[in-house]
């Protein structure tokens, strides 16, 4: 953000990369040297839109967040242009910009903290504790790096689960017990297993002889964990055994640029 600020309407900021719409807003507020509590919305909106137009195509996947902010800016701008409603003297008038200003300020605070953490990180990289190597080794040893495997689709998962349930049905003992287990408990069991073994097979999470209702709860727990991004499911071959991994351990790096 060290580029020379350019005054006037034709802003040239598209060469800069921003972490997100708030990052861009902070930049515009600082560049224009305006009072944060009295932001000239028309000017900022114009420059914001100019940046959007300059966004390169490959950045489009993150454009949604910028578009959302652009819509917010335009809404505020239109609210400011509307005639003021008749209000009694003691009635509150909400500045349409206030919420946005508070967001910008909050974001800015965390950026400052991030700056300080960066300094601390730099300082920390110069000192070496005894035993840290072991910590890293432990971490690496705990999680075997899996072979490249295929993603598991929902239909793969359903097929595997249906198979399991059919096998269970062949077990002639029918149990009619109330479901006494919660999704949280099953989630914890899966976590526990992953912590202990680093990974597990989908099948092994369903204890033979357990009431089928428990299996369903386990299944729901797994679906939720996938949705929350806590675990990843992978399959060596089509219809093959489904493996469960904690997230990240099967994902190569390079995801930091969020």
């Amino acid at each position: 953000m060290a580029d020379e600020a350019q005054s006037g309407h034709s802003v040239r900021i598209e060469t800069l990369d921003f972490e997100g719409p708030l990052d861009l807003l902070v930049y515009l507020v600082q560049k224009n040297e305006v009072d944060i509590w009295d932001i000239p919305i028309a000017l900022i909106t114009e420059q914001f839109l100019a940046y959007l137009q300059g966004m390169t195509r490959e950045r489009l996947e993150g454009a949604g967040e910028f578009l959302l902010m652009a819509a917010t800016l335009l809404r505020i701008k239109s609210q400011l242009l509307l005639p003021r409603p008749e209000v009694a003297d003691d009635e509150e008038i909400e500045d349409p910009r206030r919420e946005l200003v508070l967001r910008i300020l909050e974001y800015q605070q965390f950026r400052e903290i991030a700056d300080q953490l960066r300094d601390r990180e730099a300082a920390g990289r110069l000192v070496f504790p005894r035993g840290e190597q072991e910590w890293i080794d432990e971490l690496e040893a705990a999680v075997p790096v899996p072979e490249p495997e295929n993603r598991v689709t929902l239909s793969d998962l359903l097929r595997a689960f249906t198979l399991l349930m059919e096998e269970a049905r062949r077990d002639r003992v029918h149990r009619l017990e109330p479901v006494t287990v919660t999704i949280e408990e099953k989630t914890d069991l899966v976590r526990e297993r992953l912590r202990r073994d680093g990974q597990t097979n989908f099948r092994d999470l369903f204890v033979p002889g357990e009431p089928r209702a428990h299996w369903i709860v386990t299944f729901v727990a797994l679906l939720e964990m996938v949705r929350e991004g806590e675990i990843r499911l992978r399959q060596g071959e089509t219809f093959g055994e489904i493996h469960v991994y904690p997230t990240g351990d099967v994902v190569a790096g390079g995801e930091e640029q969020g």
């Binding site: 508070l102 990240g248 351990d249 995801e255």
Partner: protein, 199 residues
């Protein structure tokens, strides 16, 4: 093997030397007969004074609620080269911003993080969890019971913080937070703000 009995200073030094994680004053005190955490703190100060006077290449650092031995920054070049295989990349801006919010708002959901940063944080969170800086700290009650995230002890170690209270807290931070509360309590002064520059 004869000689004077070991002093608390020597015992603490041996424990710190052999430990692979920060040892708290309480833990150290429990390991030494008739020692209090206060005595341990004194002993650590003495040790550091000795190390400084003797120009040793390491000293005791207070971090994550405990003490550990670390090399001095002057030797970073050599030690880093020796440990090159274990070197971790620096955290990205996105990761540091996300980590800052987690540190202050914990336990916090992904949705809250995204609303403050204004961007998706899924990939960044994953990186932070992988690096042992952030952990799942539970689930929020309510719709969807989203996961809650918090910082780890390794977070404190990584940034050389003795505790969460030692987090950098710029003066303006408190003022702004306070300001925000005030702003929410008090009605805006009539006539200000709404008259726009847009006229």
């Amino acid at each position: 093997m004869s000689g004077p009995p070991p002093t608390p200073r020597q015992i603490v030094e041996s424990l710190l030397f052999a430990a692979d994680e920060p040892l708290s004053a309480r833990r150290l005190a429990a390991l030494i007969d008739e020692a209090t955490p206060g005595l341990v703190a004194d002993v650590v100060r003495e040790l550091n004074a000795d190390y400084l006077r003797e120009a040793r290449a390491f000293h005791v650092q207070e971090v994550a609620g405990g003490y550990r031995l670390v090399t001095r920054p002057e030797y970073a070049g050599w030690v880093a080269e020796m440990r090159a295989s274990g070197a971790t990349p620096r955290l990205s801006q996105a990761a540091l911003e996300t980590l800052s919010i987690v540190a202050y708002k914990q336990p916090v959901t992904r949705a809250e993080l995204e609303s403050i940063r204004g961007v998706a944080v899924e990939g960044v969170l994953k990186t932070l969890v992988d690096r042992g800086l952030v952990r799942v700290a539970g689930r929020e009650e309510g719709l969807g019971r989203p996961l809650l995230y918090g910082t780890t002890d390794h977070f404190l170690e990584y940034f050389g913080l003795s505790s969460l209270d030692a987090l950098p807290r710029p003066d303006e931070l408190e003022i702004l937070f306070a300001d925000r509360e005030r702003q929410q309590e008090l009605p805006l002064d009539d006539g200000e703000g709404i008259t726009g520059e847009d006229a």
